[in-house]
């Protein structure tokens, strides 16, 4: 970093200065530069290192970060008029830097706040002393939809309501940090904070390496250990409960589950039996004693909470009342997000703990009290006014939360009237100005408003604070534009020390004791989705092979109605594959179904596997609009086959051979067995058009083998021998049955010990029957029946494992 001085000594600026156009707003604190425009101590070496790289390299570096996020498939879901869409993660490449001395103050303030919150929520659902003493108004709590009556008087099994909290902070004009809002329901973003870190360090690894930045992994390790510790006390497992793939932060749920090695479940995976919460797995019901829920409490149990919830587990509240399961956070904790509560915190802190808040909240007045209401009305121009019971952050809620000074005279009169008639429904909050932090725009740094989200997790030793977090940065200078749903960006947060920091990782260190653990039980729903993924992928491949064989012939003939082509059309039509289109919609549907099945179990997928699958789907949709029948379609199908082979190869080479892989493999083998048997029945039937046998060999990818094995032209007997009965041909029916027998035999046992499952008996019978058959016995009827029998195998498996 000594070069920086050389620049000045020589007196001629050699480098592009990133700060040249950096103009903070008057009266607003800037994170990077002080009031006189000089970089703050933590930032100076960082800026210098960026300048040293120069604009060209910086551009390449940042592109590398974006590439990482794309490759990893990081997305969040946005709801707009067009419906729900996955959107690429909007990384602001410049991290927000905070010195660790300042961070220690933030941490102390937030730990105090989290402890206070625990006391408050335990009191509200317990002895209610705050209300009895008149410190909290009973009417405010009773009116909140987050006050869950079925939970009242229930002590959480873990002893605590709050285990994982997030706080949204902003820095005011006087330079001190304020809490803008609290997240206690099911805070999101911690996983994105990790991805921000990975992406940012992809771009700036050398700078990151040289600066002393606190690592994030230790925070997650401590929390995971805490969860597992809680679960062990109660003799059960830990699981993460997600609302499912349509949730805006599902990616994060899957990511955290994968990162921490915790089961990811949906409500329908769970059931309550004998007052205990159980997960349905392929090995039977297994108890869950800690549930890290990522869905709002109201949706957790349709029996006692919102009856219209489709994503909950009936009986969960009963299991909680009986102390059989701890939810993280406890149901009902969302109450602490209520905006009006901010008005009471200073008083409560003094009453309960004899302490002032170390980190103040944004100044808030609840209009349900006379003097507070008068204060808000008298100072409306300096206020943001919104619903008292809202749990949204003020800047995310501009539909209902309004800046007093921005109201038209009519709106103002109407609002005053509403506050006067229904004061309890409103809070006034001081309008906050956020500090600015730099973003990189077209080669220069520019200031943008930012807020900071910090995460706290409970461990047996108390709260641990994630040293870093997640900064939301505006796309413009408008502070309301920092909400992710509205097009804000996210930046990494570096807590910088002037001394070397401890390097932590989630992986056990070499000196740690080493034991290989087997993966946990596979939830039934995941097994079902894996099986269908296998089936859909195989069905796509088989269809593509037939389509290619069809279009090759179509391209070579002058007669599109020649008997063989007409026969193929008739054959595929009942399966929803209409050959009028070069890319039949039925094929697109099959691939979309594969993507859907995989999307239900993203936590079980490597990013590479997911990208390969998305690519398959993208390609077929593109082909659908561009490809013409015949030659063009032949080439397109060849591309599809190559990509399908790529995806299969990824699965085959990279997936750990445990129960999950087994179900995927079983799905594939069942589908291939059905497809080959059916196609074989059709193309080898007596009276099949000329050329059918050659086509069959081509569809079965066995032209070369046939040429080698049989010194004769393809005949019915040789084709059946090779594609039905040859145990060495990976496309033959017998080969599929052998594989199925092996894999089904390795599935977890169901029913009484030592008994064969129904599916195991069926496959054994089927396999034995086919193994001893002669080609001459395999009539079209026998082959069709065989396809049906293989299909029935799926039903037996579904009954045993997916019910």
């Amino acid at each position: 970093m000594a070069k920086g001085n050389q620049k000045k000594i020589r007196g001629k600026p050699l480098r592009h200065s990133l700060l040249e156009h950096y103009q903070p707003i008057d009266g607003v604190v800037d994170e990077m530069v002080d009031a006189s425009g000089n970089p703050r101590p933590a930032w100076a070496p960082f800026i210098e290192a960026l300048e040293e790289l120069g604009p060209e390299k910086l551009g390449q570096r940042f592109a590398r970060a974006d590439q990482y996020l794309r490759d990893a498939g990081v997305y969040y879901r946005v709801y707009d008029k067009a419906g729900a869409n996955e959107r690429e993660w909007p990384l602001a490449h410049i991290p927000l830097l905070i010195e660790d001395k300042e961070w220690a103050e933030i941490s102390a303030g937030l730990v105090q706040r989290a402890d206070l919150f625990e006391e408050i929520v335990a009191d509200i659902y317990g002895p209610n002393r705050l209300i009895e003493k008149g410190i909290l108004p009973a009417g405010l709590i009773a009116a909140s939809p987050e006050y869950l009556r079925p939970i009242a008087d229930t002590r959480p099994a873990s002893g605590h309501f709050l285990h994982f909290c997030a706080f949204e902070l902003g820095r005011g004009p006087d330079g001190s940090w304020w809490v803008l809002g609290d997240r206690t329901q099911a805070p999101s973003g911690a996983g994105f904070a990790l991805e921000n870190r990975v992406a940012t360090t992809r771009a700036l690894s050398d700078i990151y390496g040289e600066m002393h930045v606190h690592r994030l992994a230790g925070f997650f390790r401590r929390f995971r250990d805490a969860l597992i510790g809680m679960a062990k006390e109660n003799d059960g497992r830990v699981a993460i409960l997600t609302p499912g793939p349509l949730n805006e932060t599902y990616y994060e749920h899957a990511y955290i589950a994968r990162y921490l090695g915790i089961m990811l479940l949906e409500g329908e995976d769970l059931t309550v039996s004998g007052g205990k919460l159980m997960v349905r797995t392929v090995s039977g019901l297994m108890p869950i004693s800690v549930l890290w829920r990522r869905l709002d409490a109201a949706f957790a149990d349709p029996l006692e909470l919102r009856p219209d919830s489709q994503i909950g587990t009936p009986g969960l509240v009963e299991a909680i009342r009986r102390g059989a399961v701890s939810t993280v956070n406890a149901l009902g904790s969302g109450l602490m997000e209520t905006r009006a509560l901010l008005a009471f915190l200073p008083k409560i802190s003094r009453a309960l703990r004899g302490e002032e808040l170390l980190l103040p909240s944004v100044a808030t007045w609840w209009c349900g009290q006379d003097s507070e209401r008068r204060h808000v009305l008298a100072n409306l121009d300096r206020m943001v006014v919104g619903p008292a019971l809202s749990t949204r952050l003020a800047f995310e809620d501009d539909d209902q939360t309004r800046l007093g000074s921005a109201l038209t005279p009519e709106e103002r009169t109407a609002l005053i009237a509403r506050i006067e008639s229904d004061g309890g429904g409103f809070v006034g909050q001081e309008a906050v100005t956020l500090s600015t932090t730099p973003v990189y725009v077209g080669g220069w740094l520019e200031p943008r408003p930012a807020s900071l989200r910090v995460y706290l997790a409970r461990t047996p030793e108390g709260w641990t604070v994630m040293p870093g977090g997640f900064a939301r940065v505006g796309l413009s200078l408008d502070p309301t534009a920092i909400a992710m749903q509205r097009g804000g960006q996210a930046a990494d947060v570096w807590v910088v020390s002037d001394r070397p920091v401890e390097r932590e990782t989630l992986l056990p260190q070499e000196h740690d004791s080493f034991a290989r653990t087997m993966p946990g039980s596979l939830p039934s729903r995941a097994a079902e989705n894996l099986t269908w993924l296998g089936r859909y992928i195989e069905r796509s491949e088989d269809t593509v092979r037939i389509l290619r064989a069809y279009h090759v012939r179509l391209a070579e003939t002058s007669d599109p109605d020649m008997p063989l082509l007409a026969d193929v059309r008739d054959y595929l039509e009942p399966f929803g594959i209409d050959l009028e289109a070069a890319i039949p919609p039925g094929l697109i549907g099959t691939l979309d179904s594969a993507v859907y099945s995989a999307g239900q179990i993203r936590d079980r997928f490597s990013p590479d596997g997911w990208l390969a699958l998305k690519d398959l789907s993208k390609t077929i949709h593109q082909f659908a609009t561009t490809v013409a029948p015949g030659d063009d379609a032949t080439r397109a199908m060849t591309v599809m086959l190559r990509k399908l082979a790529g995806f299969s190869g990824l699965l085959h080479e990279n997936m750990y051979r445990f129960t999950g892989w087994r179900f995927l493999e079983i799905g594939r083998r069942i589908e291939r067995g059905i497809q080959i048997a059916r196609t074989l029945a059709r193309l080898t039937r007596s009276g099949a058009p000329d050329g059918s046998l050659d086509m069959m060999l081509e569809i079965g990818d066995s032209v070369m083998t046939h040429r080698r094995q049989y010194p004769v032209r393809a005949g019915r007997r040789t084709v059946i021998d090779l594609l039905a009965l040859d145990p060495l041909n990976p496309r033959s029916i017998l080969f599929q049955l052998e594989r199925l027998k092996a894999e089904i035999g390795l599935l977890p046992s169901v029913g009484p010990e030592g008994h064969m499952s129904v599916a195991a008996k069926e496959i054994l019978q089927l396999n034995t029957a086919i193994a001893v058959m002669e080609p001459s016995e395999m009539s079209a009827e026998v082959l069709d029946d065989l396809a049906t029998e293989i299909g029935n195998l799926y039903n037996s498996l579904a009954k045993a494992y997916f019910g």
Binding site: A142, L303, P314
Partner: protein, 310 residues
């Protein structure tokens, strides 16, 4: 419950009543159900100063795989049942002997609405009977501008006077019609229809009172019906009933009114449960794994046993 009987009901009884109550709920499922889980709220409870449960029983066919009894937040008796095995219907039978003896309404000591608001603010409690739970909108009884405007015509003088007037007006202005609404109908919709059943009239009254700032809750229970002169009492002809409880200030406390019959709750009203609206005290809620629909039937008998001295 049934209009036309109001007159005979209004004769105040100075003595308590003893009843045998029988309830039969039956559900036939179109397609057999796999697992299912329900909560049933049909058992009357002993309430100091209102009624005493002498004996009560609740049985199910088929026999549930799991059964637990507990009291919910509002103190109502809940029986939670679960079925693991396939079943094609559910039969619930409740029978209870209950003696009811409500106090005579005394002098109206309730405050006007302005003072009520102050008295309400002074109640520092979230206990199940604290008025705060019953003041804000709930699923079925949301605060609705049209209903509030309708209720405002009753708002003069004391809280009890306001409640009585609104109760009588609903009884007068709305038509009893079992076909017009369902258990899911909200107060605002029933209000626009100007018709409905006890559930709807109760919700409208609750919504109206809440709109005026008066805490009001939903009471589910049974009503003794008296057959027309000379006709025998028909077996199973009764139905479950609903009425309204109103918080009338610190001294007057909770008072109950029946807008379906335009009267105060009497010794003919047998209480099962309290809630913010129907959804808190629905006789049965459940989650069923089935592909088809279901047909339900309800039969209720409220049989006076003998007069009981207070």
């Amino acid at each position: 419950m049934l209009r036309g009987f109001a007159k005979s009901l209004r004769q105040t009884r100075k003595v308590g009543m003893l009843y045998d109550i029988r309830l039969h709920l039956s559900y036939d499922y179109d397609a057999a159900a796999g697992g299912s889980r329900h909560q049933v709220r049909v058992l009357p409870q002993t309430i100091a100063g209102v009624q005493r449960v002498v004996a009560a029983s609740l049985s199910f066919v088929p026999t549930p795989s799991e059964r637990t009894d507990f009291a919910d937040f509002f103190g109502n008796n809940v029986t939670a049942i679960a079925f693991r095995d396939v079943h094609d219907g559910l039969d619930i039978r409740m029978s209870a002997r209950v003696s009811v003896s409500r106090p005579e309404p005394g002098l109206d000591v309730s405050p006007d609405l302005q003072c009520l608001r102050e008295e309400l603010g002074a109640v520092r409690s979230l206990a199940p009977d604290a008025p705060h739970h019953f003041l804000t909108a709930s699923d079925h009884a949301g605060i609705d501008a049209a209903i509030t405007a309708y209720a405002r015509a009753s708002a003069s003088g004391s809280t009890v006077g306001t409640a009585i007037d609104l109760c009588n007006r609903i009884h007068r202005d709305f038509t009893y019609d079992g076909e017009a609404t369902t258990v899911h109908t909200r107060a605002s919709d029933a209000f626009r229809l100007k018709r409905g059943v006890c559930q709807d009239f109760s919700h409208i009254m609750i919504a109206g009172l809440r709109g005026l700032g008066i805490p009001a809750g939903y009471v589910s229970g049974f009503l003794r019906t008296i057959p027309p002169k000379g006709k025998p009492r028909l077996e199973g002809a009764d139905a479950m009933h609903a009425w309204v409880k109103v918080w009338c200030g610190r001294d007057a406390g909770w008072q109950e009114f029946d807008p379906t019959n335009g009267m105060r709750a009497s010794n003919d009203h047998i209480t099962v449960g309290y809630g913010r609206d129907y959804s808190d005290v629905a006789p049965i809620v459940g989650v069923l794994k089935t592909t088809g629909g279901q047909v339900g039937d309800q039969a209720v008998d409220v049989i006076p046993v003998a007069l009981e001295k207070v």
